[in-house]
């Protein structure tokens, strides 16, 4: 296993940046998720690590060895493709054995290694079938087996669950996570699904428009998004973002209600050089505490029962809709006025001009 280091790696197609200069160090045994909307450069980054895409500039180091200009076959990296890329003219067994044959391994050892990895993934019974005769999940397992069998320095996975049915995706997600823990293999995993990223990643690299927006643990990117993009992108629904004015004692929301802020935030906001006190207040739905006598007012716009809880859609005075989490048995007539407070520990502030988070 190995660590991967990207130094100023960039990719240009003509004059257009697919990936702007990017620095990233992936530790040995770490599960890194590259997350972002489609076209953000995450797959290009992965392909540059694999060598399938040449870098325009920068350096890629694998365990300190410069592999920037090595052919993919010389990097000792395994790649799992979104559509599996199993060879349809070979049986599952031959597909799995294929990387070992490249190294010219003896037949007995190939057989033994294929047997081991097939047992690990519980696919012994389908080894003689052609990929076309397998279910999506089994195709995925064969693709994973083909990557695992070589015991490579690192695994790269490009949306490996994207082609699976929703219910199956969760099973495979758990299987991949379990495999990762068992193998302790450095893994770079690309997805556009933030739930998948939160569930699997040790750290998440959030990309947008060819630029890394934030690198952090799932908890960090969820609770302390670095900018408005991350705040919106992470979470389902994303962070509530409301334009507000900084005043003595708190921030004033549209419609006149004043949300009190802690002393710590008051100092931070005063020192942050905001233009005429304009700020964006951000808070997660679970920071909303609906109660009589709360400091803030809103009207109930809609409520969705999610089983374990109710998601309230609240309309502020300026027509802005925010989301708040309420107890599963909370009853609120549509259109009725409610009052709520915000958990002071869960309030975050952003500079509307730079879109960056204001440090507390």
């Amino acid at each position: 296993m190995a660590n991967i280091e990207l130094r100023g790696v960039e990719k240009k197609f003509g004059d257009v940046f697919a990936v702007k200069p990017l620095d990233l160090t992936i530790k040995d045994g770490e599960f890194i998720v590259l997350l972002g909307p489609s076209g953000c450069g995450k797959t290009t980054t992965l392909r540059m690590i694999s060598g399938l895409e040449a870098v325009t500039d920068g350096q890629i180091l694998l365990d300190g060895r410069d592999v920037t200009w090595l052919h993919p076959s010389e990097r000792d990296i395994a790649f799992v493709f979104q559509f599996f890329a199993l060879y349809s003219h070979m049986s599952a067994r031959d597909n799995i054995a294929f990387p070992l044959q490249a190294a010219g391994m003896a037949r007995d050892e190939v057989k033994q290694r294929v047997g081991q990895v097939a047992a690990l993934l519980r696919i012994e019974h389908i080894l003689d079938r052609k990929p076309g005769a397998l279910s999506g999940g089994d195709q995925q397992r064969v693709a994973l087996a083909r990557a695992l069998v070589r015991r490579p320095a690192a695994f790269l996975m490009d949306e490996p669950l994207g082609a699976l049915d929703a219910e199956f995706r969760e099973t495979m997600r758990a299987e991949i996570k379990k495999l990762h823990l068992a193998q302790h293999a450095t893994t770079v995993y690309v997805t556009h699904d933030q739930i998948e990223a939160m569930a699997m990643g040790d750290r998440i690299v959030i990309m947008s428009a060819a630029v890394v927006q934030q690198v952090g643990t799932p908890t960090e990117v969820y609770h302390n998004p670095a900018n408005l993009f991350v705040a919106r992108f992470i979470g389902s629904p994303g962070m509530n973002l409301v334009k507000a004015k900084v005043e003595a004692g708190g921030v004033r929301l549209p419609g006149g209600s004043l949300a009190p802020v802690s002393d710590r935030w008051r100092h931070a906001l005063e020192g942050s050089g905001l233009k005429d006190g304009s700020v964006v207040l951000g808070f997660r739905p679970e920071a909303v505490q609906v109660r009589d006598g709360g400091a803030l007012r809103a009207a109930v716009y809609a409520d969705d029962l999610h089983g374990g809880y109710t998601m309230l859609h609240l309309e502020l005075a300026d027509g802005e809709i925010i989301h708040g989490r309420a107890a599963r048995d909370a009853l609120n007539a549509l259109g009725s006025a409610v009052r709520f407070d915000l958990d002071p520990d869960m309030m975050r502030f952003f500079n509307p001009e730079t879109e960056m988070a204001i440090p507390s």
């Binding site: 399938l52 076959s73 559509f83 890329a85 199993l86 060879y87 349809s88 003219h89 990929p131 076309g132």
Partner: protein
Amino acid sequence: MANAANAPRQKVVISTRVDKVSTGARLTSSFRATIAVIVALIMLIPVAWMAMTAFKTRPDAVAVPPKVFFEPSFEGFVSLLTSRRQLTNDEIAVYQQRTDLGWADQIALIRGQAITGPSAFPRQLLNSLIISGVSTVFSVGFGVLSAYAFSRFPVPGKDDLLFFILSQRMLPPVVVTIPIFLMYRQVGLHDTHIGMVLLYTAFNLSFSVWLLKGFIDEIPREYEEAAMVDGYTRLQAFRKIVLPQATTGIAATTVFSLIFSWNEYAFALMLTSDAARTAPPSIPLVLGTGGIEWAAIAAGSLAFLIPVVIITFLLRRHLLRGVTFGAIRKG
């Protein structure tokens, strides 16, 4: 309906159980099959007629009205494969007494002829086999390499080059036969196997590049990329992954190239005379003494059909199978 409980509630068109298919659907499918058989029969009539003529005697072949039922004879094949000499009446009498004549000699004797040796036709058939076989190997081989390059690499001026290659097909080949004839005579390629292989390869290559490019475009790049990440060079990935995946396209291109060079008439007539003469221009020239040998011509055409039929039959599985992408799921 004898058993209403087993009858399908909706119209079932395809089922492994005959009793589950609705009567209407069954009738429709047998009606379609009947039409298909009739069309196939109509298309086979000329071939069947040719096969029949090949086994007729000369009087039967030219009989009016045409004979559908006749006594089969190898006269046509004997005239095709041998050269003969007309015997005088005295000689015929002598020959009829001889007991050492083979069956072919006896057939010739019916028409008062004696066999003097084999004809040029077997060698012309062999020429056809060599020239079309080698040119097919070349045009498919070079075709698959350049199609792969056009499909996968950023070749400068790719579209123009492809159009340029295609434009070769826009010209009726007959137009250039005279210039090519003159050039071939100058450089000593006239009536040579190499000259004909070169010509047919050049003419087939544009077609095979385009056809194969379409097939290779359909093979996802991920296949080779997966092989390359797994430790193979690009050439190894091409050989182990791309070629097997392109089998269908290669089979189709092979058959089309083979049929073109096998059937080609105009160039062969102009550019070959003896050593490299192929079968197509020679078959209509099987003239006997006193009239066209229809049976021999039909026999020659029949013999000429067989190699192409065999190749097509051998490759039929690939031709019919269509392109399957077992494990690539399009999201």
